[in-house]
Point group: D2
Chain length 405, copies 4
C-alpha cells in the first residue's frame, strides 16, 4: 500500500528573515523539565520491565502526567537548607496484571523517579529534599487490548488516537545558540563551576540582527560564599556564554543574566537556591508544559501541544510522530541540498497502523538558487523510508537515545 | 513614552489555501479542560477574596498547576457506578498573610474547585465521585513584592517574566466549525439529549476541500438504556452536527463519531461512562495541556506553550498577553477592512510595566484587492489603545467574562 | 461441645472504694472520635453493599485505620473562617473483586465518610472545610479466604487472630456521670445552646468523695458574639452539668470548664472554634486512640488496646469480643442479684469458630450479704447463651445499634 | 511545697495467682511499631534541631500521629518483589518559626523517618519499597505559648493537659518471657537467621500453670529457598524460643509459630514476605495502637490509652507520666523489700508544673511476711525524688535512652 506522502513547496518568509524571533529552553533542572524527565524515566523503566518479562513486548502504559509541587527552602550564602521537600506526584497508568505476571508498576515508578532525580540533580539529598509519591492507575481494558496485537512483532502497532506530530529543520541561529549554550553549560561550564545550578531558563530574542539571550539561572548556595562570588559568577557566565553564542552567529549578541536581581547595600535579592532548582522554593512543574521534543519552545514555528515525555513509545502518536517528524526534517535537511527550511507534519488515524499516517505533509522553503522539483522526490523517499522503519523510534526511546524534552 | 508597535505585512499562504489544516478542541469535560477550569476557578475565587479584603487589590497567586488523576468506573447501560473517585490535586501558590489578614487560601481553593466541578459536570455526585485535595504553597517573598506596587491603582503592574503571548484572527472555517459545534452542543444539543456527556474531543481535519470532524464523545450511561439507544444517538449527533458545520462552510463535511467503537454480537466496546468524562476511567489531565485561550489547539497557527488558566490576571504575561493578543487580532479584523489574516505577538520584559511590551509585533496577510499601507496605521492605533487599557483584561478575567481555555 | 467458661470470685477493692478513680470520654467531635466514627461508618457502608450484592454475605474488610490531619482556622467572635480544611485519610482494605462483582470500595468509603461528617458535625461546610482522601487497599488473598467459609450462613466465622476482648459492669458513679453528661449535652443542652461545639473532652476524677469533672469544650464562634457570651455560656454549662451529675451521686461534685482559658483585658485566649472541633486548628486524630467500645477510657479498669471502630463485624475478635464481653457484663449485672462488679474477658484462638473462645473468663466481686456460689451458674448460662448467639453482635453493629466508641 | 503523694496498700490477687494472664508485644517491624518508631524518631530529630538552634531549648511539637498505609508485595521463595511501596504519612505539628529562625520541620521529619526505617528494617530498598510523605502542621499559638516559659531552664514546664500516666513493676513471668524473647530475637537469633523478619507478634497466654507463646513471624523470602527451609526455620525457632522462655519460668511452656500456616501439597499458605513486615502486604499501622511504653500490652494491668511515641518530651503528660510512673515502679521494686506488686498512677493538672502532679498515687501489694508500713515511707521518698528530677526523663528520651514502645 502506498503511503499518503505530500511534499509541497512553501512560500513564506524564512525564519532568519523574520523581524522578531523568540526561542526558549527550560534546562534540565527547571520544574517543568524535572516533571518531563521523571515521566520519561518512569516510562523507560516500565518498558524495560515489560520487555524482560514479556519476551520483548511492551504493555500499555502512559505516564505523561505528574506534578512537581514546589517545596520551601532557606538558601544562604555558604549553604542554606531545604525547609519543606519538593513533592513529586507520579500519576498516569500502566498495566499491572498480564497473564500470570504481576508488574510492580508503583515500585518501579518510584524507583525510576528517585534514580532519575538523584542522577540529574546531584545536589539533592534524596533522603530529605524530595518526596516521591505515586497514584498511578492500571489502564482501562480497552487500551490494553490495543497492545495484544503486538505479540509476534510482525504487526505494526495501531495509533492510539487521531493526532499529529510536527517537526522542523534546520535550526535557526537563535535555536542553535540556545541548544549550544545548554550543552556547553551541562558538559563544560557547570562541571568546573558547580555554583551554577540546574534550573536555567534560556530565552533567546532576536530583533532583526540583535540577539538577546536572557538567562535565569538558579545558583547553588553551598558553592557561593557571598555576594561577591555571586556577582563574579554572573560576569564569568556572561563572558563564556557570549563566546559560545558567537560560534553560531555573526549578529550582535547580548547575554543578560538574572536580570531581576536586586543588589543594594540595604536589600539584596538574588537567585540563590540550596540545590539549584526553583522547584525547591515556589515553582511547580508539570509534564508537557516545557520544551517540545526538539528541546525548544519556538513560538515562531508550528508546535504540537502534546506532551512527548512519559507517553508509551509503541503507539502513542503524541510521542512517536513528534519525534519522527523532527527526525525526518533533520535527515532531509542534512542529506538533501536546496532546502532552506522544512516543516513536517504527520497525521494519524486512530486504530490504523502507525506506519501509514493519514497524511505525511512536508512543506519546504527552497534555498535561493535551488529548485523544489529537484529534491521533492528525494524527500518523499526519506519520509517513506522513515515511516517504514518507524519502530526504530520506539527502540531509540526505550534505550534513552532520543531526548523528549 | 511611545510604545514599540510593529505592524508588518506577511507574505504567506493563508490558512484556507493551505492543503492540510488541523484544529482541535477539548470540550468542557475533557480531563485537561477540567484541570484548566478548576485552576481558573480557583484563581478567580482568590481574586475576589483579595479584592474584598484589600480594598480592590489582588495579591500574588498562581494556580496554573494541578493534576486530575483519573478514577475508575464501571459504566453500564441504564446506569453504572463510580468505583474510585477522580482525584483533583490543587497546587500552585497564593499569598496567605498580608498585613493582619490571613487568607483562607486552601479552603477557598477547595471550595472554588468543588463548586466549579458540580456546576460544570452536573452528573457528578460530589459526595462520592470526586476527591479534591490541596497542596498549595504560599508564594515566595520576591514575587509578593511585585504586587505591593499595585496599591493606589495608579501604577501599572510589572511583567512577572520575559515571555510572550500570541493571537490570531479571523477564525478559519474549520476553527469556526469546531467552536460552533462546541457551543451548539453545550447550549442546544445536550440540554435535549443528556446522553451526550461532557468530555468531547472535537478534531477537525481539512484536506484541501474536505473537512472531517472526528468526535470522541463520552456517553452518560444512565441516559442510555442499551446499545440501540447508543447507536441512535450517534446517528442523531451525526445528522445535527453536519447541519451545524454546514453553516460555516461550503466544503464537503464528514462527521465521524466514536470511531474506535466496536459493536459486534460477541464483543461490544463503546465510549460509555457513568458521568460523561473519561477522567472517571483512566484519563488524567493537567492544566495547560489542552486548549489555548481562544478555545482551540491549532497546529497550523503560532501558539504559546504557556498555560493561561490559573495564572494571576494582574501581571502574569503568560495569561494577559495571550488573552490580549487574541483580543487585539479580533478587534482589528472586525473593524479594519482588508485583513485576510492577522497574527499578534506581544513580548514582555521582566520587571517592566506590562502596558509597554518590549515589542508588539503584528503580521498581516492582506486580502486580495486591498493595500497593507491603507490599514497599517489603523491597526497600530488599535494595538496602542488596547495596551493603554490593558487592565480591562484583568477585570474581564476576574469577572469570568474572558474564557481561558 | 462444651464451651470453656470460667466464672470466678474476685477479691479486690471495688471501684467505688478505691481512693482515686479516673474516667474520660472524648465526645463525638473530638479528632479521635471523628476518626473512629468515620472508620465505623465506612465499615457499615461496606457491609451493606456486600450484603446487597452477595446475598447477605459480608466480604473481608477492615477500615480500622485512618488519620485526621488537623486544618487551620481563624475563629472570631460572631464567626470566623476555616483557613485550611481538615484532611481525612481513609485507609484500611476491603475486597474489591468477588466473582463477577466489582465493589466500588473507594467511592463507598468516601461517600460514607462525608455523609457521616456532615451529619455528625452539622457546622461543617462540606464543600470547604473538609477534604476526604482515600488510599484504601484490597485485602490480601489469605484474609479473603477466611470469609469464603461464611457462605450458607450455617458456619460460624473463625477468629481472625489470637486476641481478646474485655468488658465490665456496672458503671461506677463517675462513669455514669460522664456518660450521662455526654447524652445530656447531645440531646438536650446543645440543641438549645448551639454555641457549645462537638469536640468536648470530659475528664472525671474522683478523689475519695470529691468528684471533679473537667470539661474542655470547643465553642462555635458564629453563635458567640463576644467574650461576655462566652463567659455566660461557661456559667450556664457549669450549672446545668452540676445538676446532671447530681443525679448519679451524692458525693461532692465540681464542674470545671475550659480551665486553660485566659481572660484578661490585654490578652484573651479561649477555646473558640469555627465549627466546634479542635481538628480544625491543630489537633490530629486516629482510629482506636480514643474511647473504648463502652464509650469511656477507664484506667482503673482492664482495657483492650484494640480499636473497635472500623473492624469487620464478622470475625474480627478485636471488635466482636470487646462488644460482646461488655454486653455480657451488662446483662449479667442487670439480671443477676448479688454482683458488685464484674469483669469479662473473652480469648480467641486464631482459626477457631468465634463462638467457642479459648476461654471466657468472668471475675465477680460479690455484694456484701450475697454468696458467689448462688449466682455463679446463672452467670455461666448467660455467657453460654450469649456466645451461642454471637452473630447478634454482628447484626447489631451493621444496623448501627451498637456504639463502638 | 509538699507534693501530693499517696502510697496505699492494695488487697488484690497478685498477677501470678490470677487464673488467666495475657501479654502481647508487637516487635519492631510490626506496622503499629513502625508507626511508633517513626513518630518517636521524628520527635527526637526535632528536639535535637531545636536544642542546637535555641540554646538548649526545645520548642513545641507533637508528632504522635501518622499512618502506615500498607503496600502490596509478591513474595516468593528465594526472593520476590515489592509491587506497591508502603506509604508513610507523617502528620502532627511542630514549631516552624521562632524569632528569626525558620525550622526545616518537614525536611527534618522526612529525613528522620527515612533514616529510622532504613536502620530498623535493613531489608527495605529505600528507593523503591517505601514512600514517606509529610503533612505536618505548625502548631497553634496557644500551645507554643506554653513553651516560652522554658527559657532560662529554671522553670519546670507546665502540664499540657489534665491526664495521667500509669506504670507497674515487677514484670510477671509471662511479661519477662515476652520481653526476653524480643531481645533474644533481635540480638541473637535474627543476626544468625536472617530469614526471620522484623514483624513479629508475640502473644503470651498463661492459663494457671501453662504458658502458651503464640508467635506470628513474617519470614524474609530472599533467605528462604523453599518450603522445607521455612518449616525447618519454624522448628528451629520453636526450639530456641522454648529454651529462652524456660529461663523465666518453671511453668509448662508451649511455643506455637505461625499457626495460621497451611502447608499442603496442593495449596500452601505461609507467612512469607519480601522485607519481613506485613506492612508490605496489607496491614496498616498507627501510632499509639501498639505497645505501651514498657514494651508490652497487658490487659490484666492498668494501662493508659495515650500514645507515648512522638509526643514532645517536655510537657506532654501522656508521654512523661507514663514513662516516669514505670520508672518509679521499677526503682521502688528494685530498691525496696517486701513489694509483691506495685502500680503507680500520676495525675496532672493542665497548666500546673509537671513536677507537682495533682496526685501521685501508688498502690502496693505486699509480699507475704512483709509489712506495708515498713516500706511505705521509703516508697514515698522514691516518688518524691523522681518527681524532683522529672527533667531526667526528658533528657533520656531525647538521647534515645528510654524506649517508648
Amino acid at each position: 500500500m502506498k503511503r499518503n506522502i505530500s511534499v509541497k513547496h512553501l512560500s513564506q518568509t524564512p525564519i532568519e528573515k523574520q523581524k522578531v524571533e523568540l526561542v526558549e529552553r527550560k534546562c534540565i533542572g527547571h520544574p517543568d523539565s524535572l516533571a518531563d524527565g521523571v515521566a520519561e524515566a518512569v516510562s523507560r523503566a516500565l518498558c524495560k520491565e515489560y520487555m524482560a518479562e514479556c519476551d520483548g513486548g511492551v504493555l500499555h502504559h502512559n505516564t505523561d502526567q505528574g506534578e512537581v509541587v514546589a517545596g520551601e527552602s532557606a538558601p544562604a550564602f555558604g549553604g542554606g537548607k531545604i525547609v519543606k521537600p519538593i513533592y513529586f506526584l507520579l500519576t498516569g497508568r500502566a498495566t499491572r496484571n498480564f497473564g500470570n505476571h504481576v508488574f510492580a508498576t508503583d515500585a518501579i515508578a518510584v524507583e525510576a523517579a528517585r534514580d532519575y532525580l538523584s542522577t540529574t540533580i546531584p545536589t539533592f539529598d534524596m533522603n530529605r529534599d524530595v518526596i516521591v509519591d505515586c497514584r498511578m492507575g492500571s489502564g482501562s481494558t480497552d487500551l490494553c487490548d490495543v497492545f495484544n496485537t503486538k505479540k509476534g512483532h510482525t504487526a505494526v502497532p495501531r495509533a492510539n488516537d487521531t493526532s499529529f506530530g510536527v517537526g522542523h529543520a534546520p535550526f535557526s541561529q537563535v535555536e542553535q545558540i540556545i541548544l549550544g549554550l545548554d550543552e556547553y553549560i551541562a558538559n563544560e561550564f557547570r562541571p568546573k563551576n558547580p555554583m551554577l545550578g540546574y534550573d536555567i531558563k534560556l530565552m533567546g530574542l532576536r530583533e532583526i540582527n540583535t540577539i538577546t539571550i536572557t538567562v535565569a539561572a538558579a545558583m547553588v548556595d553551598r558553592y557561593c560564599s557571598d555576594i561577591t562570588d555571586y556577582v563574579e559568577m554572573k560576569a564569568k557566565m556572561e563572558e563564556s556564554f557570549t563566546q559560545v553564542a558567537r560560534k553560531y552567529t555573526d549578529r550582535k549578541v547580548k547575554i543578560e543574566i538574572n536580570t531581576a536581581d536586586i543588589i543594594r547595600k540595604k536589600s539584596t535579592s538574588v537567585f540563590l537556591t540550596v540545590n539549584g532548582t526553583s522547584a525547591e522554593m515556589g515553582d511547580d512543574g508539570s509534564v508537557g508544559r516545557g520544551n517540545r521534543c526538539n528541546g525548544l519552545i519556538t513560538p515562531n514555528r508550528p508546535m504540537s501541544m502534546e506532551a512527548t515525555s512519559g507517553k508509551n513509545p509503541i503507539n502513542h502518536i503524541g510521542k512517536i510522530y513528534n519525534l519522527l517528524s523532527t527526525e525526518i526534517a533533520r535527515e532531509a535537511c542534512q542529506k538533501v541540498d536546496g532546502i532552506e527550511e522544512m516543516y513536517v507534519r504527520l497525521l494519524s488515524q486512530i486504530g490504523h497502523p502507525i506506519d501509514y499516517p493519514l497524511v505525511a505533509s512536508v512543506q519546504c522553503i527552497t534555498k535561493r538558487g535551488y529548485d523544489f522539483k529537484e529534491y521533492q522526490t528525494e524527500v518523499e523517499e526519506i519520509v517513506n523510508h522513515r515511516l517504514e522503519n518507524i519502530s526504530d523510534i520506539t527502540r531509540l526511546v526505550i534505550d534513552g537515545k532520543l531526548k523528549t524534552f
